[in-house]
Symmetry: C2
Subunit: 620 residues, 2 copies
């Protein structure tokens, strides 16, 4: 991986920062966040502005350019990758390390007095704007909204915003009509005395209307906003989509049965003006819900007296708690996904000794095998297929120049997943196809202990996910080891592979309590820079459980693994496991054998079935 040469780009950017064409007064710093106007994690090529300016293409990072400096903040998953992708015009700011300055502290330390710091108000979230503006103004600087994006101004061949074909999901997949979702939303609005709700997150729009698109790779979403009132539904999207008969039918655009369920489709770009128009009609007590992570531009379109910002919208929460149809779909998707992975590992065992399988070809093979499964739509994120030292780059993506060959001597880590029409998958397995070292096995076993500790945890109703994070680390900590990423994230149902409002992380964020029906990942790891990476990830469903007692009738929850792919036995030092852990593993493998075995049999995949049976033998 060679770094992007950015001398010329930085020169141009600094020029427009000074020029009067885009900014009323010169700005001394310009912030380039990684998101789009919807604060999406994965973004369309036209929105990859941070990558364009610095070269780093990981999913999280913020670049800041001043007259003298250029710095980029990212987290532990990306330290190695970012240092390889950026040239020496850039300083890598390692978030999470004690010595690393925050963006505001860094700005204050490098800026001349009374500086202006510019940012595109459509790209920065309202809550970040507020924090940043406050910190800067307390140091005598000011944060300035630059309406024309300065990266776009210097980006000559910037791609167009995509507008892919939409597809409608029937009751069989969603379990609930969009009309019913709107009515449930309105009930929550009425309960909290809210008149309007602005939907800004793309997955919330897609979930609410039971529509899917492919505007953003890996995420079955489409560029849209919605404004929902008690008697009105406005959907903002590219006009040509409204002409599609599938969409017209699904949204009942032609012949609305009930006036308050009539969808009014408006052009995507109109959202700001329409929101202002809606707000101009409000009574003094009317309140408008908007996520505090929505763009500063859209948030400020709502007068402060009417604004009711919320950390998580009711749609975000409703979407996180899967209904029985969605749960069934997720189970089916994971069974199909496990079939593909059993086939992959069977194939790898045969092919690796020939020395012809690379990270890229293994990833391609995995995709091909998944695509053979029913209702396959595409991958849910770029496959992390990594051999030996590449495995230590936490969000590694194989490129021709980094591509290693799978061998009998190095660990192989594959973190991959797919979108099926019935569900989204995300699974990581770490395998050795020769003889692992004792140290590799030791580390793997600690990671497995952490994985089991979370998966088998019993906890009271109302517990927040972050309270479970240390369970995943205890075995590693005991030996002085750790990993620099969270342990789990919410997973959408044929939606984004990362979703809120729940998660399992040492970072304390305002996560919502875990509830039965939520689906998360459980993925501790261990990474030895320059040597290997280990990660074990299952998708798990929050389920009620009945332990011996029931303190204050609170009820208890635990997790049920939905991912059913064998965990490689040869990597385990079983003497390091407790009996309870061995029981968990044997029980898990029995379930893999039963459920995935039956499906392999049904699909006539004899060789993979033999592999599965061998890999799921109980350990003592």
């Amino acid at each position: 991986m060679s770094p992007k040469i950015t001398v010329e780009l930085l020169r141009k950017l600094r020029q427009v920062m000074k020029g009067s064409k885009y900014v009323a007064e010169p700005i001394q710093a310009y912030i380039i966040p990684s998101g789009d106007a919807h604060q999406s994690e994965y973004i369309a090529p036209c929105d990859c502005r941070r990558e364009f300016i610095c070269g780093f293409n990981g999913s999280a990072g913020t670049a800041i350019v001043t007259e003298q400096h250029a710095a980029m903040w990212t987290d532990g998953r990306y330290f190695l990758q970012a240092s390889q992708q950026m040239d020496n015009n850039w300083t890598l700011m390692k978030m999470g390390l004690k010595e690393t300055l925050s963006q505001e502290d860094w700005l204050i330390s490098v800026l001349p007095e009374n500086s202006k710091v510019g940012v595109d108000p459509w790209i920065i979230a309202a809550d970040q704007w507020k924090t940043l503006a406050k910190a800067l103004s307390s140091a005598g600087h000011s944060l300035v909204a630059v309406q024309q994006n300065l990266i776009d101004a210097i980006w000559e061949d910037r791609p167009a915003r995509p507008s892919t074909q939409l597809s409608a999901l029937g009751l069989k997949y969603t379990g609930l009509r969009w009309q019913d979702k709107v009515m449930q939303l309105r009930a929550k609005m009425a309960e909290r005395k809210i008149s309007w709700f602005v939907v800004t997150a793309l997955d919330e729009v897609a979930w609410l209307f039971n529509l899917r698109g492919s505007d953003i790779e890996y995420n079955p979403v489409f560029f849209a906003y919605a404004i929902i009132g008690m008697n009105s539904i406005r959907l903002f999207l590219d006009e040509k989509r409204t002409a599609d008969p599938v969409v017209r039918d699904h949204l009942v655009l032609t012949e609305p049965s009930k006036a308050e369920l009539h969808v009014e489709c408006l052009p995507y770009q109109r959202v700001h003006d329409e929101l202002q128009a809606v707000c101009s009609t409000l009574g003094p007590k009317d309140k408008v819900w908007i996520c505090d992570k929505a763009s500063c531009a859209l948030t400020q379109a709502i007068p402060k007296m009417h604004r009711a910002p919320i950390p998580y919208t009711p749609l975000c929460l409703a979407k996180a708690v899967k209904n029985p149809t969605e749960i069934q779909g997720m189970r089916m998707a994971h069974i199909k996904d496990a079939v593909a992975l059993c086939e992959l590992f069977t194939w790898l065992e045969k092919e690796i000794p020939k020395g012809t399988v690379t990270e890229i070809s293994a990833a391609d093979r995995a995709e091909e095998l998944r695509s053979q499964q029913k209702d396959f739509v595409g991958l849910s994120f770029p496959t992390i297929s990594s051999v030996g030292p590449n495995g230590a780059i936490i969000h590694y993506r194989p490129l021709p120049e980094t591509n290693r060959t799978l061998s009998l001597t190095e660990l192989y880590l594959i973190d991959s997943g797919a979108q099926y029409r019935d569900g989204t998958t995300d699974v990581t397995r770490t395998m050795h196809f020769g003889t692992p070292t004792d140290y590799e096995k030791e580390c793997f076993t600690y990671v497995l202990k952490g994985h089991i500790a979370v998966s088998a945890a019993v906890f009271p109703n109302g517990t927040k996910g972050h309270l479970l994070d240390s369970f995943a680390r205890a075995a590693l900590w005991d030996s002085g080891l750790d990993y620099l990423h969270g342990t789990g994230h919410g997973v959408g149902c044929f939606l984004n592979v990362h979703e809120g409002p729940c998660g399992i992380s040492y970072k304390t964020f305002a996560d919502e309590p875990l509830e039965a029906g939520m689906i998360l990942s459980d993925e501790p790891g261990y990474y030895e820079d320059g040597s290997f990476g280990i990660r074990l990830e299952n998708v798990v469903l929050v389920v009620p459980t009945k332990p011996k007692y029931n303190y204050r009738n609170r009820g208890s929850l635990t997790f049920e693994p939905i991912t059913l792919v064998p965990i490689q036995l040869k990597m385990i030092r079983s003497e390091l496991l407790t009996q309870k852990e061995r029981d968990w593993l044997n029980d898990y493998h029995r379930k893999c054998q039963e459920i995935i075995g039956a499906e392999l049999e049904r699909q006539g995949r004899k060789e993979a079935l033999d592999w599965l049976i061998r890999e799921t033998q109980p350990i003592m």
Copy 2:
């Protein structure tokens, strides 16, 4: 415990809320927080306003009185106690339960439109004022600073503010002269470009100046403020204290060696005006540090442009990390404390069968035994001495009307501690003097497993205490049990038994990362309402440890118990312990036997020594 009758008091309070004598306009609600002007947890009798108005005398709680309602918020430790102490004019608001409204939500739900909510600005913390004012104003109400405290206005025989004799602590106890502490503080101020620092917490003033008082029961502090500049030290305290030769000598008031270490003593009441005077001399860039938990009145005396509020002051942090002299003092204090408890338990074993020992007499006996130890000053908090169902009242304090007799059939829980000139102690043991039930033993064993899980935890440098809280609960959770309080708090050195900025709790607060030298409690429990309470508490020291590996050279920490009092073996179902847990317990008891045994021997306490040896036998 019979509730306080509050009809007449509430009538009088509602009268002054309406009257023009104290408030410019009538207020519709009045908030009575539990703290004093220093946001102390334990308060002097003259500051017990919340207890005066509602009867509830626990350490945490906020009362709010409106024209129609009276409600009091407290946490899980106090649900039972508060419900017993308040009459039916009061509604108990159980904090931490999902269905309980917050104070602001409750106010908004009960108040008529455009209401005024009053509060004494000296009693409410600046950060609470801000949050509350915002929430109220967003609902059309306003928060009003009522200068004259309305409880004081109706409290006829309110006690005077205490002004006890001060004592100076030498280097032998503090390890650092106050002059050096001031210089270290100034170095931190210079580093962060801070011109002034307002010390508002009583324990911070006491720690900084190496002075102790007894203005507040159980807390060796005295009413004072300090304002520290780079060349000036102003100490605000009752004038007659300045005449005391001990104080004059210690603070070098007569003949200051260096001008910038000259202490200027001013009357306690002058702090507000002096702070305003200091602020009027500030340059445009000058910043003043003040804790964001300081009173609203004092915080607002600093113009906003100069105000630099911080969640924890540098003194709070410096005080939390004990120096070698303080650590040695804490160890000595705990050895003496353990001697007293061994004597107590030996005595209880003999006396309980006679049926003459009560919760109160046992607590008195414990105090008497402690007072025989060198440098004993007093108790560090009211002894919780509780039998059977009283043990389930988490912060129970025995009163003549609730006093139960210790017996061979009920569990006995004693949570107690003392102030010695060399350190502060806090220890809880739960004992059965007859034959415990299997269920009592089962619960005790889960609590013990939680206690050990925290105490033996290994974790990386920089870990925050709240990440360890779930370790204490895992065994209880597994069986559907839990406890409704945090797991640990910071402990001062001959200072407050509860101190920040670290702790171990499921509540996510801005706790500072754990560091070697910090001292905390480790005290999980289990409470069965109406039956019994179990808690096991040691004070533990954060120490460096060297596990097998050292990931990224971060280093690891663990805890070393400083409390050395046997954990009752007959309460343990050892088949529920892992071998690692049994090893921990045997190792702990060996240490108790060695260290406390030697001291019992030295003090010639033969009977207690025999008891100790019997109670510290290894288990298999």
